[in-house]
Amino acid sequence: MLKDFLEGKPLRHPLHPFLVHFPIGLFILSLLLDLASLGFPSVPNLVRDAFYAMLLGIITALIAAVPGLVDYTDIRSDHPGKRTATTHLTLNLVVVGLYGINLGVRSSTLDQLKTPVAPLVLSLVGIALLSVSGYLGGRLVYDEGTSVGRHKRRTPTPEDTLHLAVELGEDKRADTIVVPIPEAESLGEKETLRVQIDGQVIAIAKLAGNFYAFQEFCTHRFGPLSEGSVQDFNVQCPWHSSCFDVRTGKVTQGPAKVDLKTFKMERRDGKICIDVPRAKSRDPHDQET
């Protein structure tokens, strides 16, 4: 409940990217006022104004850090954006630390007409690091799709990709392999797994007690369907809301135009299994070599 609130789910909008506008804007304002104090030392209170802008920036940065941390924990641990997120988080902690020092250093010189060199340098370094960190945060949204459409999902998303080893049966040249997925037993209704078998990345969803397997990547801009929401035999991509029938893979709502690849799920010897075509039989070029 608290996690849903901090992720902004009731708002349909994450909180962290909203709150960070304040420290970013205020730290830049603070630096501009520092520079103005050097150019126009006759204007009163510029040094004080830079101090107060920074103070409000630090307060809002600390508030923004809370939902930011929650968002961070929600990124799948093997997601390509996880490293970017770790760098973003680390840089932000460094920036806030630097501004804390900066505020302390300048607190004793508020009566001066020009901002002294030491806090000015700290502000320049702070803005440089903050620009990089803010840019990485933006890339997390626009490149990696972090928290895009997350509020549409009511169930938890996979924390990891299951890498399932391929065990060949008696017929080593078989075109399909049957892989048991014991983890599917503990899956709740409308929950998903993300599995990788023989190079293929597959989402498995439980709907009305049955299991359905389909390709992980949406055919529009390749959003993660294991993080989509499932309802009425449809999976909806979190990014641009394309819908597919989980039974057939057919597109039921655009923007996607191409159907999903689906995989057969069945029970064998009481185990939940997936039938996956061998990677070698997928691509004719590979077969030749």
Binding site: R12, H13, P14, P17, F18, V20, H21, F22, P23, I24, G25, L26, I28, L29, L32, L33, P44, N45, R48, D49, Y52, A53, P80, G134, Y135, G138, R139, V141, Y142, D143, E144, G145, S147, V148, G149, H151, G199, Q200, V201, Q215, E216, F217, T219, H220, R221, F222, G223, P238, W239, H240, S241, G249, A256, K257, V258, D259, L260, K261, A279, R282
Partner: protein
């Protein structure tokens, strides 16, 4: 002209430009309201700080407008996000105008005043409320409708999806 479009869309950054620029007015104008209120305790220091915040927000919004327009022009008219974008734009123009008037009301007094007068304070309150509403609509376009999401990373994700054995659309 093409280079200007690419600049405004943020292609050179691999990141849309509009959501970066808008950090400034989005931070400055609500902060100006906070500084207006703080002027009751901290006098002219806050009156001036609020004034500077409003100016900085207005300057940045000059770049926010064209970069937002080119992003909006990429949204198809039949999509629900197009209408949200329209409301977002109209509200933003109103907000920018309100803060421009706000600035005009205080430009002759901010050097000496120790408190922000009623009229500019009221404009700061109305402007901030409308701005938060408008910014929320802008955020919905991204987080609810996926505008600009995956636009510049299509090639990368296509490669990942291909390696993962997915059906792909024609290039």
């Amino acid at each position: 002209m093409k280079w200007l479009l690419n600049f405004l869309k943020g292609k050179w950054l691999k990141h849309p430009l509009h959501p970066i620029i808008v950090h400034v007015p989005m931070a400055m104008w609500p902060s100006a309201l906070i500084f207006d209120l703080l002027s009751r305790w901290n006098g002219n220091v806050m009156v001036r700080l609020s004034f500077y915040a409003i100016i900085f927000g207005l300057v940045a919004s000059l770049l926010a407008v064209p970069s937002g327009l080119v992003d909006w022009s990429d949204v198809k008219k039949e999509k629900p996000a197009w209408k949200i974008g329209l409301y977002h734009m109209i509200l933003n123009l109103v907000v920018a105008l309100l803060f421009a008037i706000n600035l005009g009301l205080r430009i002759h007094t901010f050097r000496e005043a120790i408190i922000v007068a009623g009229a500019p304070l009221a404009l700061s309150i109305i402007g901030t409320v409308l701005l938060i509403g408008s910014a929320y609509l802008g955020g919905l376009m991204v987080y609810d409708y996926g505008i600009s999401v995956g636009r510049m990373s299509k090639k990368k994700w296509r490669g990942i999806a291909k390696a993962g054995g997915a059906n792909l659309p024609a290039e």
